[in-house]
Amino acid sequence: MCQVEEDYNGLECKQEKIPVPTLSRKCMKCKEGTAVLIIRVSDAFCRSCFKEYFIHKFRAMLGKNRVIFPQEKVLLAVSGGAASCSMLAQVQEGLSRDAPKRLRFMPGIIYIDDGGACGRSSEERQRSVDQLKSIFTETGFPYFIVPLEQVFSLPTSVLVPGTSDPDPSNPSYKQAVDQYIKEKQNLTEEEAASAVAQLRIEESVCSPEHKLALERLFSSLNTLTAKEDMLHTLRQHLILHVARENGYSKVMMGDSCSRLAVKLLSNIALGRGAALASDTGFSDPRYGDVVIVRPMRDYSSKEIAAYSRMFHVPSVFISGLDTKTHDKASIQRLTESFVTNLQADFPSTVSTIYRTSEKLHTVMPSQGQTTEPASKCLLCLCALDTNVDKASAFHATLVSEQLSQIKLQDTSHDARHCAEGQGCGSGGCCSSNRSPEHQDLKTLLCYSCRLTVKDMGAVDALPPYIITEAEKRQKRSRMKMEISEFLLEDED
């Protein structure tokens, strides 16, 4: 008896190193393992089931949507955070599998170093870039590290939606897969080797002028809300540019469903209601030739955080604009704390919001057909939502804005904008004491981007490609006005 007792004691000592949870619950899936994580209200998973579930979800997401074709070049947008790094790990996992279950696309990685906009020192930036580099090199994928300062050397073509090449969409997904498998037989390992050889390191070359220009741009934005919005827009432009330059036709973003729930609500508050479907959906075709995909949208941020901790997914913490800010610093931040606080007491909050986003569709003409740049917002490239009739909330806002301002400008200028049917007087009076570009620029923007630009002190701080493109469009629309009498009317 004593012996047994002692044995038991010895065992307990050993166990103390790996203490068992006090309330040990079994995994709801395998009913054997000890649960380590509660995913939804009553769903507790054990470690191995959780891993399996996590991996399966990623593949299921790609399998269900069937937008990524074999051999397609896919750019993974990695910010260094847990969500995008888990996405990278999932892609790596998928590519390392055996033939039938293997993911068949060719990934590349992009990281946009936005430290210049967030006021980080160059040493700090260099440190995080170095950390990311080592993570990226380990994957063996080609990668691009682009400083945000490069927006000042972007071409205007970024702002023009590309025409989606009909070729890859023509054969059905199944055909493409079959063809790939046939081709695959001739393919040797050389191919894979050459892909790795392509590995390119975009050295972060940013001239001091660009650095200053970026600082000026962000200091000219008065609110954190506008800063975040502008940063997001510029980042999208850079990613788009790099994707186009290097022949990537898909870009993967690591938005989790918690993130998307926040984005959905804050975008409504920001006046981006018309673009919700493409801002939060699985795929976002607004750029035409490059499609944004969000494969992480089924994961909650809790799952991602737990996964990256448990299975040692390397990630880098990089402070952003909203780091260490209080809850009410910006609309985005406030919405986030609203949603997470609500989620703590009502665990179905995020999923309810997220399911709503799945059901959203835009009634705009399909993105592929209207490639005329004038019908798109200059900044976010969404279809313009300001071309609405007089009996709308948008016009009511404009009218009240107009009335509350002292009229300084002659009406002829206003009338011209009225005739265009978009944003009459939006610039006319409210910004009459500012530079004339300010008002003109506004007519090219969607409602939400107007608000962001309105927050801006000096519009000329915007990167040159935006200003040039704006001038070009204005010239064109002015010319159109002038010759409008002689043009044949579009049939209505």
Partner: protein
């Protein structure tokens, strides 16, 4: 912090705090060693049976240098901060009532944006 060195070392909580809000990942790993003086940043916990609630109160009082509201809300962590005790969800362990054991590894992970 030296006052917190336990006279009867029964509990050493290896506590890693991943708190991005503090601008850096602060790893506080306190390895009990009677011979060597504790590193200045290490968190030593008095030898007694503590639950998570007490640990959090202690963290608030001893480790958080600024803006405790970014980490705490009331006497628990802020929603959006995930707590893992020995790599397991603390919701399975009774959250605030969990009695800390020797060699426990408590991790706080912020899932909030920007930090």
């Amino acid at each position: 912090m030296n006052d917190f060195i336990p006279s009867h070392p029964k509990i050493v909580v290896i506590m890693m705090i991943i708190m991005k809000r503090e601008r850096k990942r602060r790893e506080l790993a306190s390895h009990y060693a009677t011979q060597t003086p504790p590193p200045s940043h290490a968190g030593f916990i008095p030898a007694c049976t503590w639950d998570m609630k007490q640990l959090l109160a202690w963290i608030r009082g001893n480790i958080l240098k600024e803006r405790p509201e970014l980490f705490m809300q009331g006497d628990t962590v802020r929603p959006g901060i995930l707590v893992l005790i020995n790599d397991a969800d603390w919701e399975l362990m009774g959250e605030l009532e969990y009695q800390l054991q020797d060699q426990d590894n408590v991790v706080f992970i912020s899932t909030l944006h920007g930090g």
